[in-house]
């Protein structure tokens, strides 16, 4: 500690290292993992190693709670919000890891590289949630894209893998180049790449420069929005969700969305872009189109993963409302709401994708079932009560019905919108939720009703103990936090 006090201007101090300890652990883990692969290729060891790295990072991250906000060089800023987001990322990654292990075990080859890519995704998310500079934003963004491309196309024998891999590669490359151009435009006007650069008000209003600046902003926004799969940048979502292996879809639905949304809020709040009317207009139109289009498109889907892809479009639209109506005074409350909603959304998605992954493994006689259709869920509640219950809770949470965290999340959104008197957004939100019920509820009915003489009506194959425990844990967690949301809030506050 004495070293820091004597050298306050040190480029890199011990507190800083402590603040980014989770990221450091993961980065170190990746390097060690590479060496491990070179040394011996066995699935067991690398899985245990990855799990160890993630757990260590999680512990390091949790121990950060309560420490004050730390600026780590110009690039990163660690605060309570980013720590909370990182915890969510790490927990999702742990679940994804377990599901990946099951999934890859079904194949004969040894897949060590898969786990490295998974760690890279987590690392990228770790950078994104703490980034405080366009450079780190771009770094994180690219790292996330590249490692996800590798994961999306990983399952070579699947009929979808090439299609979805390429779709994701090309589109996300396009998105990141747009974003880079946008950053360049912004830099050309402001001359500073840091999020908390003091932009003079003149920039917002100056005629020629203002236009350039706004164009840059639009390009930057389009890059981020692509990753969040907000309409009209959502076209890749259903295909990639469907084509990717389920654990990877899980990662995309939770880690990638979460990290991108957090960085979006960080960037836009710090730079006060929301003061610009045009940006507001764009965000509002994204939100409205996403809410309506996402839900309408989900109505007719038969494939569960495609349906969830469209519903994720709608959910990001809901969440955008908070960002749109936030103001300087309500910033802390906005952060809290966004993080709560993201937590609820992550938990629901974790649950659903986990059930999907387990069904792919266990539901039919074949060792692996590629597509899970809605009809595969028929009578799930009676065939495998814990899966059915988890699925129902997660769907209720997505639909925003009480007893679940999703309802509290929606309550947060409605509170923000009501305070800001955003009546039109509320009206559309309610209308969109009504459409959403029209596809969530039939799924729940399907899960609850079994056809008596259906060949599907047989118990699942024997499952592994850890998965059972995970399923039960998720059921308990969803119910507990749904009824007593105050416990989550405590984490966010600190």
């Amino acid at each position: 500690m004495s070293a820091i006090t004597s050298q306050p201007d040190a480029l890199f101090s011990l507190t800083m290292a402590q603040a980014i300890l989770p990221q450091l652990i993961i980065a170190f883990g990746i390097v060690l993992g590479l060496l491990l692969v070179a040394w011996r290729r066995t699935q067991q060891i690398i899985v245990c190693f990855t799990a160890l790295v993630l757990v260590l990072a999680l512990i390091a991250n949790i121990s950060l709670y309560g420490t004050s906000t730390t600026q780590v060089t110009q690039l990163l800023l660690v605060d309570a919000n980013s720590s909370f987001a990182l915890s969510l990322v790490l927990i999702s990654a742990l679940v994804a890891l377990r599901m990946s292990y099951r999934f890859l075990k079904a194949h004969i080859e040894v897949h060590d590289e898969y786990y490295l890519l998974l760690l890279l995704v987590v690392f990228a998310a770790g950078i994104l949630v703490t980034s405080d500079h366009f450079a780190s934003l771009f770094l994180g963004f690219e790292l996330l894209s590249i490692s996800l491309v590798g994961l999306v196309g990983y399952q070579r024998e699947s009929q979808y893998s090439v299609e979805s891999g390429f779709k994701y590669l090309i589109l996300s490359a396009a998105a990141s180049s747009f974003m880079l151009l946008g950053m360049a435009f912004i830099y050309s006007v402001s001359g500073d790449m840091s999020f908390n650069a003091n932009l003079s008000n003149a920039i917002y209003h100056q005629q020629g420069l203002g236009l350039f600046f706004q164009l840059g902003l639009l390009l930057l926004l389009s890059g981020i929005v692509f990753k969040l799969s907000l309409a009209p940048f959502h076209f890749w979502t259903p295909d990639v969700y469907q084509g990717a292996p389920t654990p990877v879809t899980l990662l995309m639905a939770t880690v990638s969305k979460l990290a991108m949304f957090v960085v979006l809020v960080k960037c836009f709040v710090a730079q006060r872009y929301l003061l610009l009317e045009n940006v507001q207009l764009f965000l509002i139109s994204f939100a409205i189109i996403s809410m309506l289009l996402g839900n309408v498109m989900a109505l007719r889907q038969q494939n569960l993963k495609r349906l969830l892809a469209y519903s994720s479009v709608a959910h990001m639209g809901y969440l955008l409302i908070i960002l749109i109506v936030t103001s300087e005074q309500s910033l802390a409350f906005s952060w809290q709401s966004i993080l709560f909603y993201l937590a609820a959304y992550t938990l629901a998605n974790l649950s659903i994708f986990m059930v999907i992954a387990l069904l792919q493994q266990y539901s039919s006689d074949a060792p692996y079932q590629e597509d899970i259709l809605l009809t595969d869920l028929q009578g799930l509640f009676w065939r495998a009560p814990s899966y059915g219950l988890l699925m129902i809770l997660a769907l209720l949470s997505l639909a925003g019905i009480p007893l679940t965290m999703g309802f509290i999340g929606k309550f947060y959104i409605l509170s923000h919108a009501t305070i800001a008197h955003a009546w039109w957004l509320i009206a559309i939100l309610i209308f969109a939720s009504a459409i959403a019920l029209a596809y969530y509820l039939p799924i729940i009915f399907k899960i609850l009703t079994a056809k008596a003489n259906d060949p599907q009506h047989m118990p699942l194959k024997k499952q592994h103990l850890i998965e059972q425990a995970l399923v039960y844990a998720l059921v308990v967690i969803s119910l507990f936090f749904g009824i007593l949301p105050e416990f989550v809030n405590q984490f966010i506050h600190s």
């Binding site: 809290q336 009676w382 209720l396 019905i401 009480p402 007893l403 309802f407 509290i408 309550f411 409605l414 509170s415 009501t418 305070i419 509320i426 309610i430 209308f431 939720s433 009504a434 019920l437 029209a438 509820l441 039939p442 009915f445 609850l448 009703t449 007593l484 949301p485 105050e486 809030n489």
Partner: protein
């Protein structure tokens, strides 16, 4: 405290019944019956032993629940809620009895849902934190939807979906109004509050309260239901299993009326007065439209469902007359309609069990083979169209007299429905029990006679000695 324990015990009993049914077939219904009777007794003892008259709201529990929003778990009761909870207990026990033979698959889960619904309904009647109220409002909805969707008739999924979406959308509007009110409270007093009594103490400009009241009104109007948001009701009532229909018609519709009284009228007195002409018009339209639609139906349950719209229209008309006599009438009608429509749905269920049809065309001449059933049907149909001596007559009479003093034209038009109700009542009875015998049916069994006679006795009691209810003021 006692009430919270009762609600928790209901959920637990449901869970135990579900579990027990797996091991001992037929145990779920006994357990549910036992649990309900026991808890109802506990409730009765709790109320009678309390040394209040419950004319005003008695706050029983206030515990902090979600500190971020200053949301409390707070419950309170007064005469109105006690009456409605008593009705709920009675009908819940009848629901168990009526499902005795009807439910054949997933029996344990059925009783779990039934008891969960009852717990939710009781929660609705006692919650005085608006967030908590909303919470229970939705909790009672979920198991009810499951009951319709799993154990209902042929078109059950669609009916359940429609029921849920109508209620959910309207209640989201209410949620926005709740949030709006709470933040208005924050602006005025510097304290975010969802507590009912805080809200009542808060003066509010008329312009604002009009909008907020509308949010509440729509939610309750959907539940009541009132034209033009009634279309979920005929489907849900028709497709639900008998117990579902009984619970829906008997109690769930009353939560709408309860909400109108407790929240719309008491929280927004001025705005309600301003809104009264619109509400009364809607009510009169519901009364006439429901009656008209009822006698055009071929489906036994659908006919009763439309008659419910008509009767609940009377309740809404009375509430927006702001007249103490009409108000008393509304209370009596709520109880009487709860009993009579529940009884008619029970009979519909009994007939369905015998001939596997709800169509009036397939019925006819049952009197010859089942005179006891016929007698009860006649009695309850007469109750529905307001025969003096039965509860409904008292209610409707008081409402019409009360409304006549305030808005005579509405009362005159609404009175037309009394004629119409006699028509559909007779259509119902003649179509099923008179005319040439279409088939033989078995007469009522002992359990069924017990259900019907209990309901009939209560209706008679209410009709002959209405002071039983009228001596209380119910906060009016």
């Amino acid at each position: 405290m006692t009430l919270s324990v009762i609600m928790l015990a209901l959920v637990l009993t449901g869970a135990i019944a579900w579990w027990a049914e797996r091991h001992w077939q037929g145990s779920a219904k006994w357990l549910s019956l036992l649990g309900l009777t026991l808890l109802a007794t506990v409730f009765a003892v709790f109320i009678t032993s309390a040394n209040h008259d419950f004319a005003q709201l008695q706050v029983l529990t206030r515990v902090m629940w979600i500190a971020t929003f200053n949301i409390e778990y707070s419950i309170a009761i007064d005469q109105l809620s006690i009456l409605l909870i008593a009705l709920t207990w009675l009908l819940a026990i009848i629901c168990v009895l009526i499902s005795w033979r009807e439910i054949k698959h997933k029996v344990g889960f059925y009783y779990f849902n039934l008891l969960l619904t009852v717990a939710g309904i009781i929660g609705v009647f006692i919650a005085v934190d608006l967030f908590l109220f909303f919470f229970f409002w939705e909790v009672m909805l979920l198991p009810m939807t499951a009951i319709i969707a799993i154990w209902g008739h042929e078109n059950r999924r669609f009916a359940a979906l429609k029921f849920f979406i109508f209620t959910q959308v309207s209640s989201l509007l209410m949620l926005v109004a709740i949030i709006g009110f709470a933040y208005f409270h924050l602006l005025q007093t510097g304290l975010l509050s969802f507590y009912y009594l805080d809200w009542r103490a808060l003066p509010m400009p008329l312009a604002m309260s009009q909008y907020l009241m509308l949010g509440f009104f729509i939610a309750f109007a959907v539940k009541l239901p009132s034209v033009p948001v009634h279309t979920w009701l005929p489907d849900a009532h028709t497709q639900a299993p008998t117990a579902g229909s009984v619970l829906l018609a008997g109690v769930l519709l009353k939560t709408g009326a309860y909400g109108l009284i407790r929240f719309v009228i008491f929280l927004f007195p001025e705005a309600s007065v301003q809104f009264a002409p619109v509400a009364a018009t809607l009510a009169v339209v519901s009364i006439l439209y429901g009656a008209k639609m009822a006698f055009a139906q071929q489906d036994f349950k659908r006919l009763i469902a439309y008659s419910s719209i008509s009767h609940m229209g009377f309740v809404m008309l009375a509430l927006f007359a702001f007249n103490s006599m009409a108000y008393q009438g509304a209370i009596v009608t709520m109880v009487a309609h709860g009993l009579s429509s529940a009884a008619l749905f029970c009979l519909a269920g009994m007939i369905y069990q015998r001939i596997h049809s709800r169509s009036l065309i397939a019925m006819g001449g049952f009197w010859r083979s089942a005179p006891r059933m016929g007698g009860f049907t006649l009695a309850f149909a007469c109750a529905a169209f307001g025969l003096p001596g039965l509860g409904n007559f008292i209610g409707e009479f008081l409402i019409l007299v009360g409304v006549f003093q305030v808005q005579a034209e509405f009362a005159i038009v609404a009175a037309l429905a009394l004629v119409a109700s006699a028509v559909y009542g007779m259509v119902l009875f003649q179509g099923s029990f008179q005319g040439p015998a279409k088939c033989e049916v078995i007469d009522l069994q002992r359990r069924e006679v017990a259900i019907c006679s209990a309901l009939l006795l209560l209706l008679l009691l209410l009709g002959c000695y209405p002071t039983l209810l009228l001596k209380f003021s119910f906060g009016g």
